[in-house]
């Protein structure tokens, strides 16, 4: 499994970096990668149907409990097959759709990276690894949405999508770390054993809030849904693959995956029910205001994702079954609709449903594919969609509480989804053909075969549901620990309430499809309430946050050194001063002090005078000279107090500095007093306060008796171990010899720097 993921990553890296050397004409061959992976995963269908779970573990950071653990069970297998199968069709489709595009290699690179990361998401058993792959899907999605990178709207949508999904990613990281520390493991399989511990933990609510944040942003749930319609700026193959069939389902996958671990408490179920329910109804209503094919599909995708979250929240065996089936149903018909939208866009250069009609006369096969997808989307028997919708209604009806409300919401949503599907899959093909479209011909097979395959699957599985029952659906339910005794997927359940609701959905759906044509009036009505939409509110929040950040940064990072120093000093003075006043009794032990004699006193007086002189003098040279005296006085102090080595070093270094100073600086401008008197007084106060604080601190620290163990070691062993009698020197060149060597390196680097600064000839600009 690691191999499968790595294949995608390597494929992507090769293409992103070396793609331009590959022949563009060979793009169709790239589809071999997902096809190969699809076949690879297909071989596991049988073993997993028999109840096997395939695992693989590669040690990565064992000390942190983070390993590349992969588990292939029913749920993972279903997603893996979707990712690679639809991936194959999309790769194939894109080879024609983006034929001759300048950045086709890069496009395939991003797509390959996405596929690998998405496989990683559904296969990972370790939550930290899962997080990594989760982030990569967001990042590759960003690149793909902004693929038309010279289009401003495209870039903006990409950034919106990345900020929202990236925000979810941060929440996910928090989720995985907290959950991991409570469960004591990062492995999802092992977490199942710690379920009680996790559910009863005080952190249960924060954990699920973080998880929900991650899942809702990724799966475009209300109120974070608005990045998905924006993401439709991406080329249509991307919309098909990422923003409909796979990536947006990652949030659903995550919630389903963690249902056995975290499910049970009311907070879990009711939140999911509410958010999923609101999303599915809200997005379904939005469909009627849209006239762009991809916008309709975007909102119907959001609504469908809402249905999946809603079913996960319902959490009964029936509901989980319905959700699993619906994931497949939706992937098949929605991908088909997206792909034919791409064909229509490609051929007519418009996606406005008000301008499209009669295309069946020039592209009959596409019209048939569209009709099939619309039928499955609408849940008309005998399609797969009918099966899926029946299961949803059954699950809603069997709910313990509010079953009428939930059923009503599902029926309402499905009616509008039906309407949306027909608008996309049927409407462009019926009616009269405008003259300008008469010259349109059938697209190349690479474009129409992928949707044809998907549409056929929708019908075939609808008629023979047993094809997927034992191979995919049952293993998925087993993976989620949902035990269904006797599962019989079938089209015909006899005359019952569910069938009645299904027929009602279809009838009302057809009715509004024929009666309610898209109108500008309705669009205008929706636009009027736009400022109240979550999109407007959140984007406005983002705008003000950015403004605030600018102000904040400009306040602290203003480019004035004095402000930085002042800020640092202010905090230091307050914190240290507070500690000094509150914790330490100022007392002075004069007896322990060394006596003072005249030479020292004289030196100190000279030192003080020259420091003050260096500060107040108006002559640069005088200041440098005073600085020299300061250095020499300090060297004398070292000499008085038993540090001959220091005295010598200080003396020579001080001399060198002064020489350098004078040599280099003699040509600088006049030494100006640039600050005004008020600032100077302020600085004097700050500097004096700080100096006083340091002096007090020095006295306090000095009175603490320190343990001289280390010094004693050196004093005793300097000669016996290192054969040297000057202890300071022995420390420097022997005991700490490596440090001194490094110090020489530092000095060498400084010397090279000085030399090159002196010798460097600046590039002359004309």
């Amino acid at each position: 499994m690691l191999g499968a993921i790595l294949t995608g990553v390597i494929f992507a890296l090769v293409l992103v970096f070396f793609g331009r050397f590959l022949k563009r004409r060979l793009a169709i061959l790239f589809a071999a990668v997902p096809l190969g992976l699809f076949l690879y995963f297909s071989q596991y269908i049988k073993p997993i149907a028999n109840g096997d779970i395939i695992t693989q573990s590669v040690s990565w950071l064992p000390s942190f409990g983070i390993n590349l653990d992969f588990t292939l069970d029913g749920l993972s297998l279903m997603f893996s097959l979707l990712i690679t199968g639809i991936g194959f069709l999309v790769f194939l489709y894109a080879s024609e759709y983006l034929k001759g595009h300048q950045y086709l290699d890069r496009f395939y690179g991003y797509l390959g990276l996405f596929m690998a990361a998405m496989l990683g998401v559904v296969l990972s058993d370790n939550v930290v690894t899962l997080f990594l792959f989760w982030e990569i899907t967001s990042i590759s999605s960003f690149f793909l949405i902004g693929f038309n990178n010279n289009d401003k709207a495209s870039r903006k949508s990409a950034i919106t999508a990345l900020s929202l999904t990236g925000f979810g990613g941060v929440l996910f990281l928090g989720f995985s770390l907290i959950l991991g520390s409570i469960a004591g493991t990062y492995s999802i399989t092992e977490m199942l054993n710690a379920k009680e511990l996790i559910v009863q933990s005080d952190y249960y609510i924060p954990i699920i809030i973080l998880l929900f944040g991650a899942a809702f942003t990724k799966s475009a749930q209300f109120p974070f849904h608005f990045w998905l319609p924006g993401a439709m700026r991406a080329p249509t193959p991307v919309s098909t693959y990422l923003h409909s069939a796979t990536m947006v389902k990652a949030g659903v996958y995550l919630l389903m995956r963690f249902t056995p671990v975290l499910g049970g408490p009311d907070s879990w179920h009711y939140t999911l029910l509410a958010v999923g329910g609101v999303t599915m109804v809200y997005a379904a209503v939005q469909i009627v205001s849209k006239t762009d094919l991809k916008a309709i599909l975007a909102y119907s995708t959001i609504s469908a994702l809402g249905v999946m979250i809603f079913l996960t929240g319902l959490g009964t065996n029936k509901a989980i079954l319905a959700a699993s089936v619906f994931i497949l149903v939706h992937a098949l018909y929605k991908a088909t609709l997206f792909l034919i939208t791409g064909i229509i866009d490609h051929k007519t250069h418009t996606r406005d449903i008000r301008k499209l009609s009669g295309l069946r006369k020039v592209m009959l096969p596409i019209a048939i594919i569209g009709l099939l997808a619309a039928l499955s989307n609408g849940g008309v028997p005998p399609t797969f969609g009918f099966l899926g919708k029946d299961l949803i209604y059954e699950a809603a009806l069997e709910s313990e509480r509010w079953n009428w409300l939930l059923t009503g919401a599902s029926v309402f949503t499905n009616i509008l989804l039906f309407y949306g599907g027909f608008q996309v899959g049927v409407k462009p093909f019926i009616g009269d053909l405008p003259a300008k479209y008469e010259k349109i011909t059938m697209p190349k097979p690479q474009l129409w075969i992928p949707p044809a395959i998907l549409a056929l699957l929708s019908i075939v599985i609808g008629i023979f549901p047993l094809l997927i029952q034992d191979s995919l659906v049952v293993p998925t339910l087993n993976a989620l620990h949902v035990l269904e005794d006797e599962l019989h997927l079938k089209l015909w359940h006899g005359f019952n309430l569910v069938l009645g609701l299904s027929m009602l959905t279809i009838l009302i759906g057809l009715l509004i499809y024929f009666k309610m044509q898209p109108s500008d009036k309705r669009t205008a009505l929706f636009t009027k309430y736009e400022p109240l939409s979550p999109k407007a509110v959140i984007l406005k929040g983002g705008f003000y946050f950015k403004k605030f950040s600018f102000k904040w940064t400009n306040f602290f990072q203003n480019g004035y050194l004095r402000n930085y120093i002042n800020t640092i000093l202010l905090f230091l003075v307050f914190l240290l001063g507070f500690l000094l006043i509150s914790h330490i009794q100022l007392k002075m032990n004069f007896d322990a002090m060394t006596d003072i004699t005249f030479p020292e006193l004289a030196t100190l007086i000279i030192l003080i005078i020259s420091v003050l002189f260096a500060v107040i003098t108006q002559s640069r040279l005088a200041a440098v000279a005073a600085l020299g005296i300061v250095g020499l006085s300090i060297s004398l102090i070292f000499l008085f107090y038993s540090a001959p080595d220091l005295a010598m070093t200080q003396f020579s270094i001080d001399t060198l500095t002064m020489i350098l100073f004078v040599l280099v600086l003699y040509r600088l401008p006049k030494y100006l007093n640039l600050t005004n008197p008020r600032n100077r007084i302020k600085d004097v106060i700050i500097a004096t306060t700080f100096g006083t604080l340091i002096a007090l601190l020095a006295l306090e620290v000095w009175q603490v008796t320190n343990n001289n163990e280390v010094s004693r070691f050196y004093a005793e062993h300097a000669y016996t171990l290192a054969k040297g009698k000057n202890v300071v020197n022995v420390i420097l060149v022997d005991f700490r010899g490596i440090d001194t060597l490094m110090e020489s390196v530092v000095l060498t680097v400084a010397a090279i720097g000085v030399f090159s600064l002196l010798k460097l000839r600046l590039h002359q600009k004309d």
Partner: protein, 117 residues
């Protein structure tokens, strides 16, 4: 003596900071040097000062036995002096260079990253 030394350390720190708050680049370097000296002296003082007994083993002895000055702060300061020389030398040459390029030694006119023509 320690009391006066502590006051001197405070003075060096205060004057160093004051000079660093000026607008002139040269004053900035002077402030840096004063501050460095203050820090060295501070470490020296805190190690405990001893008069007239350097940490040197007498010719006829194997180890230091009597009262001796603590060798560790001295080793640290020695390193610090040398390193700060490297820093100062580089800084001095750098401000010269900055003056040639920017034609000013006023820090207030150097707070943007724009290229000076």
């Amino acid at each position: 003596m320690e009391l006066i030394l502590a006051i001197v350390v405070g003075l060096l720190y205060a004057s160093g900071i004051y000079m660093m708050l000026r607008r002139s680049l040269v004053k900035l370097i002077i402030g840096l040097i004063l501050l460095g000296n203050g820090a060295n002296l501070l470490i020296f003082l805190l190690g405990g000062i001893t008069k007239g007994s350097p940490a040197i083993i007498a010719p006829d002895q194997q180890m230091l036995t009597e009262i001796y000055a603590d060798p560790i702060p001295q080793a640290l300061i020695l390193t610090a002096i040398v390193i700060s020389f490297g820093l100062q030398a580089f800084a001095i040459v750098l401000i010269k260079r900055a003056y040639i390029v920017a034609k000013t030694d006023d820090l207030y006119q150097m707070n943007s990253t724009d290229v000076y023509s």
